[in-house]
């Protein structure tokens, strides 16, 4: 046994390894000392002050500034500790945040400054539909018990309409509505009812129409055609939308470029899925 140890001690390779370990440890020590220095310079302080001002709309006093810097130091130390422990590796929030930052950068890089009037006018013309107000209906209805009753009440109403508010059953919502879009109507009464009303062309009482709540006799009082929007009053909104579109396009282009640099390998799945 002792013989074996002696032999080992004479082996140069062992000494080489021990020396290597010592060197490595010394290097780590130096590195960690480096790692224990936190530098505070003027640009950093200015940044902290700007952040503070952004939130409070005033400058920090001396005590608050001290606290800001101390807070930064604390954050920096904690972040370094976290990195040392590898806590950032599989943290979903950090991953998302990093990804998001790159996305912001990609989007910002290619967005030009204020678009000119002609560009906006062109954009408005191309996207006119989203600025127009949709077709709306003004309508009234009588809520009834059954499909059969709907037909009876329809006939009665088309003969004498005067007392329409006293026909049928009570209804939880209104009996009469003005200027509703198909979307608003579907939120109120269900999509089936909204579609039926918007397809209805007759001007007298119609039945039966079914909603989420039951059966109705319906009359369309007025149909208000979709309104075309004018460019001038909407120019600010158009500008915002234009820039948003530019950002999205830039992002898509940058992403396509980035994606083309990577290859994705699909690995075979071993064993059965859970």
């Amino acid at each position: 046994m002792q013989e074996g140890l002696r032999k080992l001690a004479q082996d140069r390779l062992i000494w080489f390894v021990i020396l290597g370990v010592l060197l490595f440890a010394a290097d780590r020590l130096m590195q960690s000392r480096d790692n224990e220095i936190i530098k505070i310079d003027l640009p950093l302080v200015e940044k902290l002050v700007a952040q503070w001002e952004g939130q409070t709309e005033r400058r920090p006093n001396a005590r608050e500034l001290d606290a800001l810097i101390e807070g930064h130091i604390r954050e920096e130390i904690l972040v370094r500790e976290a990195a040392r422990l590898g806590l950032d590796d599989d943290d979903i929030i950090i991953r998302r945040r990093l990804a998001q930052k790159v996305e912001f950068m990609m989007a910002d890089e290619t967005v030009s400054d204020l678009p000119d009037r002609a560009q906006l006018q062109r954009f408005f013309d191309e996207n006119r539909a989203q600025y127009d107000s949709p077709e709306t209906l003004s309508w009234r209805h009588v809520f009834v018990e059954s499909e059969a009753q709907a037909r009876q009440v329809q006939a009665a109403l088309n003969a004498h309409e005067s007392d329409w508010q006293n026909k049928g059953k009570p209804f939880m919502l209104n009996r009469q509505y003005a200027r509703q879009s198909e979307l608003e109507l579907s939120r109120l009464m269900g999509t089936q009812f909204a579609r039926a009303l918007f397809q209805e062309t007759a001007k007298d009482w119609r039945a039966p129409v079914q909603s989420a709540f039951g059966w109705h006799v319906v009359k369309i009082d007025a149909r208000h055609a979709a309104q075309q929007a004018a460019f001038e009053p909407l120019i600010e909104r158009v500008a915002r939308d234009y820039q948003k579109m530019q950002r999205q396009q830039a992002l898509a282009a940058a992403w396509a470029e980035l994606r083309s640099r990577y290859q994705v390998e699909l690995l075979p799945i071993e064993g059965a899925a859970e």
Binding site: D66, D90, I92
Partner: protein, 634 residues
């Protein structure tokens, strides 16, 4: 003098005629939905959770525009709201820098040192969690930078005024008074102003005793600024929200009851952090009592005492107190709200983002989606780091899983037992501050667990079955009786009549059953409760002996969340006479209507992530609507 007397008589005549004038428009009241509990980035904790949306964004969201979640995805409401209040924590405005300032005299507060010395993420989270109940407790007034508080409050008021569109969309100026007993016992309420609001909010830094808040509200009312306070999360109050004692432990008396009712006409019964209608251990004969239960003290794993924490028991306690000559401090109406901290309430099970931003913004973080192996390892490390916090963690009374030993493979956090709730419903003449606020004051309000179900309730004498089909039912019901939130006087020992009515949300599942929940006090001063089914889907009869509908066999496929359209009704309606009425017994009655079962948010999360659902969480939910009660008095 004579003239003065005449004037006084005229004044009295006008005062008497006013309710009748109001009554003339009552039948035109319509149901509107809103949010009364919402935090923006101006709340210190919401900011920590990553929320960067201010009040303007919150109003944009309510009006139907998409805004961004702290994790980067878009949040968009399914149907825009009719009204909304932004209610940031008053006590936190501007206080965080003081906590971080080592020179300040709060520096030695255990929470402040904890905040500054926290080294791990777990300690930091624990320190912030502890801040919520502690902040303000030992802080001297001279430390509070009231300039920051006033500026932020001014911005909240300006944003509300800027976004108010009378007739279309109503905003309210409001804030949260985040009070407690000594530690974590939640006594939070939201203060909502009818119109103008004072220069500073009254926060827990001034007093943690809600009675002092009410006195402040009384004094504002004398200056022409009306407000109400709406308590929430009684479930996490450790029994203090609806206690039989005052804040200081004294006996409740008539003055206390009047002070409380003048200032707190309604209560938030359901929100993201659970539903406080009742607890299955308190209502063993109510098969639907185990609904979205969250029975821990807020921001802790400490059990919250059941006694004094739930609404139905509070109503019963109120009857007892009244019988003992102490007045009834618990005669409140009901609403729900979200309590979101990302400026946007998550009301739909299939589109849920919980409430605290980066902390619970994904299905995994909420415990609904299975963790990967590396995440499971991370979760173990987190648990070991926080062993001291978890050592006394009780078993979750709902799931049976204690936090220290969750369902294998899933996170089990406080927010695992939260839910996609809820909305405030009001019956008001028009969409304006005055009209909606007045509906809340007269308690003509209802609460939903998220979907837009509507409910009406009328109590009186001389109602009959035929009225249900009468197109003038609502007008007649107002004329002959009282709506939800009202008091009715018992007449000649006759059982009272009720009209109950609920409709489904056209964008959600149909209704399964319509119920009346009754509580009463007997001649010996003992209280009781009973749940009656009064109308069943498909017109099925209610069994006379059990007061139960037959099972309508509504099913939901938890693999796809699809449900059949063959059962369930668009509306349920009933005329009901109390079969157990005994002359002399005071009682309360409120309506509850249940949807057919649908998938709960946790099931939707699991399906989207292609994960097995967490077996510790409910797979389905029966969404519901609660009316405010009607009180029968002798």
């Amino acid at each position: 003098m004579k003239i003065n007397k005449k004037l006084a008589a005229l004044g009295a005549a006008i005062a008497i005629s006013v309710p009748q004038l109001a009554l003339a428009g009552a039948e035109d009241r319509r149901a509107m939905f809103g949010e009364t509990h919402l935090h923006t980035n101006l709340s210190f904790d919401a900011f920590i959770f990553g929320n960067r949306n201010g009040p303007d964004a919150a109003y944009d969201f309510a009006k139907g525009k998409a805004i961004t979640h702290p994790l980067g995805f878009e949040m968009k409401i399914r149907v825009p709201l009719d009204f909304q209040a932004v209610t940031d924590h008053a006590a936190y405005l501007g206080m965080v820098p003081a906590m971080f300032d080592p020179e300040s005299s709060v520096a030695n507060h255990p929470i402040a040192t904890g905040l500054r010395s926290a080294k791990t993420a777990g300690e930091r989270r624990a320190a912030f969690g502890g801040l919520l109940p502690y902040i303000g407790q030992q802080i001297e007034d001279d430390l509070l930078d009231m300039n920051i508080v006033r500026d932020t409050w001014a911005e909240i008021k300006a944003a509300a005024d800027r976004n108010n569109e009378p007739g279309k969309f109503t905003t309210f100026i409001g804030y949260e008074y985040t009070s407690s007993q000594d530690t974590f016992e939640n006594l939070h309420r939201n203060v909502i102003f009818r119109g103008a609001a004072p220069k500073e909010p009254y926060s827990r830094l001034i007093s943690k005793n809600p009675e002092n808040l009410w006195r402040w509200m009384d004094s504002l009312r004398d200056q022409g600024m009306d407000s109400i306070a709406i308590p929430h999360n009684s479930n996490g109050s450790d029994g203090y929200m609806f206690s039989d004692k005052t804040y200081d432990g004294a006996e409740i008396d008539k003055d206390y009851a009047a002070l409380r009712m003048r200032n707190e006409p309604i209560v938030e019964v359901s929100q993201v952090k659970g539903t406080s209608e009742t607890h299955p251990l308190q209502s063993p004969n109510d098969e639907w009592a185990a609904f979205e239960i969250m029975d821990f003290q807020i921001a802790t794993w400490k059990e919250s005492r059941l006694d004094g924490s739930y609404v139905r028991q509070a109503y019963r306690r109120g009857l007892e107190m009244q019988a003992q000559g102490k007045g009834n401090p618990y005669k409140f109406g009901l609403i729900s709200a979200s309590d979101t901290h990302v400026s946007a309430g998550a009301f739909d099970e299939y589109d849920y983002w919980s409430k605290i931003g980066a902390v619970d913004g994904t299905g995994r973080l909420r415990g609904a989606v299975r963790l990967t192996w590396t995440q499971r390892l991370g979760a173990q490390v987190f648990r070991l780091q926080n062993w001291w916090q978890q050592i006394n963690m009780p078993e979750d009374r709902r799931t049976g899983y204690p936090g220290k030993n969750p369902a294998p493979g899933y996170l089990h956090m406080q927010w695992s037992s939260w839910g996609a709730s809820g909305l405030a419903g009001v019956w008001a003449e028009e969409n304006t501050r005055g009209s909606i606020f007045d509906a809340m004051r007269r308690k003509e309000t209802f609460a939903t667990s998220g979907p837009r179900m509507k409910v009406r309730l009328f109590g009186g004498y001389g109602f009959n079955e035929k009225m249900l089909a009468d197109p003038q039912m609502v007008r007649k019901a107002y004329a002959r009786g009282v709506p939800m939130g009202g008091d009715m006087k018992a007449r000649l020992g006759r059982a009272p009549d009720f009209l109950l009515w609920a409709t489904q949300d056209p964008g959600s599942a149909p209704l399964q059953r319509l119920q009346m929940v009754k509580g009463w006090i007997d001649a010996k001063g003992k209280t009781h409760e009973k749940v009656y089914d009064v109308a069943c889907a498909g017109g099925a009869p209610v069994a006379k002996a059990t007061h139960r509908c037959p099972d309508n066999n509504a099913k939901v496929d938890v693999k796809t969340c699809a449900y059949g359209a063959d059962t369930g009704d668009g509306e349920l309606k009933a005329h009901w006479q109390d079969p157990d009425y005994k002359p002399g017994e005071n009682a309360f009655y409120y309506v509850r209507a249940l949807e057919n079962p649908t998938c709960r948010w946790s099931t939707w999360d699991a399906i989207r992530a292609n994960s097995k659902p967490n077996p510790a969480l409910e797979a389905t939910i029966q969404e519901r609507v609660w009316s405010s009660p009607i009180w029968l008095e002798h």
